[in-house]
Symmetry: D2
Subunit: 204 residues, 4 copies
């Protein structure tokens, strides 16, 4: 029987009220279903905008900063599901805030020069009314990889509508078949790779 | 009566046979219709892949290079309609080839330090099956602006389908209303700005 | 004698204490010097992180939101100097926050379908320790142009150090000659274009 | 003793004469040195522009197309070193051409829905006179990951000079220490991950 792995999800919606429904949550939920088929448990979805995460590039920006506790939860999981809406064809400002806080990993290496994110994998849950998923993937993949995350084959699960349309993913009547197929690939590949790296971490 | 202006279009499709239909041509045609309302005449659409444009960053890469003649036509027009399909969420390699050849403008300044593209405006005609229009806009706007082109308000006219769909713009039964509205804005703004800059070029 | 124009600068540093020195301010100051030569007055540099700008995509996110007052100042000026540091090769999260708030312009059109940003020009002041200026230019140009700003020829004034270096622009002993030359072009072109558009706005 | 792995490198310089020296080759050579320490042998560096690779998105564009033979070599290796110069802050048009040809992988899946690139890792060798390495990383990581490649922790080995400078990597008197450190990480992580995936491929 394969070892159970843990995943944590970040929802980088601009909606700070955690009770407001979010299409990003809906996409994370799709991935969580498929991760469950591979013995990966989603421990929590953290809505970043509901917490007081301070601007900065260190791991602790002082009094009242919500990041240190979130950072600890992220690093306790084997898999990161980075969820963000698309605004103006780009990742949300909240997503950028999270990436900037992870910049500190660069100087938090262990004796083998390994960042705290080493041997963990990251995948993406991306939603928008129209256009931008590949651009968001590019920015997330580059920034997360720069600070030590490994990107499994086909890491992006996304949905956007036709150009200049206004439908939200959470309001679709049926889950698009292509989204289901993609979620299956993303979860299967990520689970396999995270398991390999947990058993045999990068030596540094 | 306003002065008649000229526009030239580049079609950066990967299809080198100029007789093969192209969705990029279809989008250029939409813009041309609206430009006509503002006394702007589309003189020609150049299908770059049908010509032997050499790799390089100079204005003449030697024997057989089709670029010098194309470059001359581009610089004879007041407005550039840069048309490209989206591949992998990005501009086509043919589009990149054209941008690289324009890199030479940086060292082709006149006595007032003005590149040959100064006082001309560029707009974008972008089509894809799904996703990528904003990313393409970003890359075109940055690269063209770096080498001297001016970007009028709302310069991108685009269409993409829903995520992971395969419909081509040229096969749509009806022209989407949003595309018409955008084309109207793009053409109106570009014509206005090109006319201002023709009457009063950048002094350098 | 040419009409005096006004410019406003946004500093999207992550440093929320307005008394902390910022390389972005230093780059804005370079541009301001050259704008002065063209009768353009910098009225104010707003350090966004020092204000409580709320997450969102509307022009007023309610109680305590600092954006409405900032928005008014931006739209009172003829020229926008958008200043941002580079983090992880990308614009700062604060820059993204500002862009998202401008998304509201799309639905704030006048009777001629013109957004409030129409007939105003935007230029960029970008600094980083290493790499990322072109990527930041691409994202700013695309997002600002989408919401109605006009981009004059050569709109980006930037400095970054050699790959993986850590020097700050504000700590350089001498201003690089290339930065001076670029600032001269950016300011001259922006002033000329802003003046043309002020005299003859887009008809919409 | 660890299993010996093979790597293949693509040099996407615009210089089609394979005898012309290239900074991209110089960066590939740095990586090759460090890969050798991990029992990874660089079998060949293919200068794409020296071959007649046709425009297109299929795996065989017909008579005279050099891609099918190159494609076979790429898929015979365990690790792909994707080398490209930076032009206008972006990957070269030759790099884009290669990515487009790999688009065909999407429909070349085996009975377990796995693309031919599955269980192989890709890393990047990027050089430029100034600026653009992170933007190139973002585009390569997104496009290669979309078509099945796995991206190991810290996959980009790059060098660029100070803003607006013109020095070539191959002309540096000394190899920058930061480049050596990065090459060590890139090679070590890629070798480890490629070995894990060779022993235990994605199940699909």
């Amino acid at each position: 029987m394969p070892q159970t792995l843990s995943a944590i999800a970040l929802n980088c919606t601009l909606k700070s009220d955690a009770k407001t429904k979010s299409s990003t949550d809906a996409m994370v939920a799709v991935l969580a279903e498929h991760f469950a088929d591979h013995d990966v448990t989603l421990t929590e979805t953290i809505r970043i905008a509901a917490h007081d995460v301070k601007w900065g590039v260190s791991s602790d920006e002082g009094k009242g900063d919500a990041w240190p506790a979130i950072r600890e939860k992220i690093l306790a999981a084997d898999i990161l599901i980075f969820g963000t809406p698309i605004w103006m064809g780009q990742p949300s400002s909240v997503a950028k805030l999270v990436l900037e806080r992870m910049d500190a990993f660069l100087s938090e290496t262990d004796d083998e020069s390994r960042m705290p994110s080493y041997s963990k994998v990251a995948v993406f849950a991306i939603v928008g009314n129209e256009d931008g998923a590949h651009a968001v993937t590019a920015q997330l993949a580059q920034a997360l990889n720069d600070v030590g995350w490994t990107i499994p084959a086909v890491a992006a699960c996304y949905w956007v509508g036709e150009a200049m349309h206004g439908t939200d993913f959470q309001d679709l009547e049926h889950r698009p078949r292509k989204v289901t197929e993609t979620a299956k690939m993303v979860a299967g590949n990520a689970a396999h790779l995270a398991r390999l790296l947990k058993q045999a971490p990068y030596p540094g």
